[in-house]
């Protein structure tokens, strides 16, 4: 269903369901949809993954290229995250340069991965100040069923943990080694539906919710990144509660990630 076709009637219905602790698809308010992770399907990528979160499908490919480091971090590799809402993912797709929403998505995913230090950037240095590995995380959204933030973070984490450094192809060493991964960041996204806060919103819920909150944790339960979005607001208590819920609820995603 396209976002503008969800009527006010639907909005009222979803809000009153949420107030009773129910959802249109039968889930509880703090429950994730079914998650499925596959890895290694793209041979031209150094790492790849396909993540299904309910009806949302995201394909992630990792490319590693050699480049020069930034002047302020001569001994560290670099990382770039881009998301592309493939035209086939959404009827409302506009051609042209990435829209603000897509840039926000890429930057939130980027921060979750970067600030958790999931990748050991110092291990990506080939020659101090001269040559480092540049990690490109490209996320392709094939089906937008809502909550792209968590699905993309999960896809990026899965593809990175599946990635190999292409030493042989670039003549750096005799064998390809695993990309050094230190921890597993997981994000949980909440939406405010009327006066209720729900986890893992579907695209229908997204079209009627007023505010969004994404919280990323590492596996030790430390908070690593957060982002509030949309033009509604959360109360202070809701924010604190959501962070606690995220810490409890991300287990199901963490287990799925470890299972690959």
């Amino acid at each position: 269903m396209s976002s503008d076709s969800v009527s006010n009637l639907m909005k009222g219905h979803m809000e009153s369901l949420a107030a009773e602790g129910k959802r249109a698809d039968g889930r509880g308010i703090n429950e994730f949809r079914e998650v499925k992770i596959e890895t290694g399907m793209i041979n031209t990528a150094e790492g790849s993954s396909m993540v299904h979160l309910g009806k949302t499908k995201v394909l992630c490919g990792i490319k590693l290229l050699i480049g020069t480091p930034y002047g302020d971090s001569p001994g560290s590799g670099t990382m770039t995250t881009s998301t592309e809402l493939a035209p086939l993912a959404d009827q409302s797709f506009d051609p042209g340069p990435p829209r603000e929403a897509s840039i926000e998505l890429a930057r939130v995913v980027d921060r979750g991965i970067r600030e958790s230090r999931m990748i050991d950037f110092d291990a990506l240095c080939i020659e101090h100040g001269e040559r480092v590995w540049m990690v490109y995380i490209d996320l392709h959204i094939l089906d937008n069923g809502g909550n792209l933030f968590d699905c993309c973070t999960l896809a990026a984490a899965a593809a990175l943990s599946n990635a190999k450094i292409p030493n042989v192809q670039h003549g750096i060493a005799d064998e390809d080694v695993d990309l050094p991964v230190t921890c597993w960041p997981i994000s949980c996204t909440f939406g405010r539906l009327g006066d209720t806060v729900i986890l893992d919103p579907t695209s229908d819920e997204e079209s009627v919710m007023s505010a969004r909150l994404t919280v990323a944790h590492d596996e030790d339960g430390n908070i690593r990144a957060a982002q509030k979005g949309m033009n509604g607001a959360f109360t202070d208590a809701e924010v604190r509660e959501a962070v606690k819920t995220a810490r409890k609820s991300d287990n199901v995603l963490r287990e799925a990630l470890k299972g690959i």
């Binding site: 399907m41 793209i42 041979n43 031209t44 990528a45 790849s48 009806k55 499908k57 394909l59 490919g61 990792i62 490319k63 290229l65 881009s82 592309e84 493939a86 035209p87 086939l88 993912a89 959404d90 009827q91 797709f93 051609p95 340069p97 490109y136 490209d138 392709h140 094939l142 089906d143 937008n144 069923g145 192809q169």
Partner: protein, 240 residues
């Protein structure tokens, strides 16, 4: 096309990947794989991997592109950054734009555009892994996605390339043959009428080799047509 090369691409009638000159790579097609799109298809052709999605008929944007008496087909061919060995910069480049344009025109011949004045039918082709022959593979996937969307069409259009390697005319060039071969001829036809809706050619073919290449690509298209129909039959054919 690098033209004449010392590289031995075919030996005793067997190609580098073990195929005979007139043999297609393995093609697997699944219809209806995406939820948001009105029709969709996932296709594997050798190592090529492609998703196609269709939206419409719907109001045409931008408005100035509307046709008063018919719909237009807006095809879009894009390659994922990770679909090739060197990362491809995201977005439309000149090659993708050209392919999108000629594919749109090819589909306007078979889609019953006169049924939907002022409308647009969007056909999106997303190459997620590329190993030569992606425009043909993408078109083939798009045909199945159009059928999956229930868009009225006169026929589907299978697309397949033939070419020349080491002076032998072959069907469906692989990566090495595409890079080092002598000619590449992508062809798309309407099977029920035999009409050609897409044809490109680069390289070098003698008049006789051109005839042979046309014959070979046409027979490749017909083989493909069967695989396309089987895929739809599997999704929609009901119990046998």
């Amino acid at each position: 096309m690098a033209g004449q090369t010392d590289m031995e691409l075919i030996k005793d009638g067997v190609r580098l990947d073990g195929r005979k000159p007139d043999e297609l790579r393995e093609v697997k097609i699944t219809a209806g794989v995406l939820d948001n799109a009105d029709g969709s298809c996932y296709l594997e052709w050798g190592n090529n991997k492609i998703y196609a999605g269709v939206f419409g008929p719907m109001e045409c944007h931008p408005r100035h592109k509307q046709k008063a008496d018919r719909a237009i087909v807006q095809a879009r061919y894009t390659m994922a950054p990770f679909s090739v060995n060197d990362r491809k910069r995201p977005g439309l480049d000149r090659r993708s734009s050209e392919i999108s344009y000629i594919v749109s025109q090819a589909f306007e011949k078979v889609v019953m555009v006169e049924e939907f004045p002022k409308a647009s039918i969007r056909v999106d082709m997303q190459v997620v892994e590329a190993h030569a022959g992606t425009r043909c593979a993408a078109m083939t996937a798009a045909s199945v996605a159009l059928a999956d969307a229930g868009i009225p069409m006169r026929d589907m259009i299978p697309a397949c390339a033939s070419g020349k390697v080491n002076d032998v005319v072959v069907l469906d060039l692989n990566k090495e043959e595409d890079n080092y071969g002598q000619a590449d001829l992508p062809l798309a036809i309407i099977p029920s009428t035999g009409e050609v809706v897409l044809l490109q050619l680069d390289g070098h073919l003698t008049p006789d080799q051109f005839e042979e290449a046309m014959d070979l690509a046409t027979s490749g298209c017909m083989d493909l047509y069967k695989i396309m129909r089987d895929a739809l039959d599997k999704s929609y054919g009901g119990k046998k």
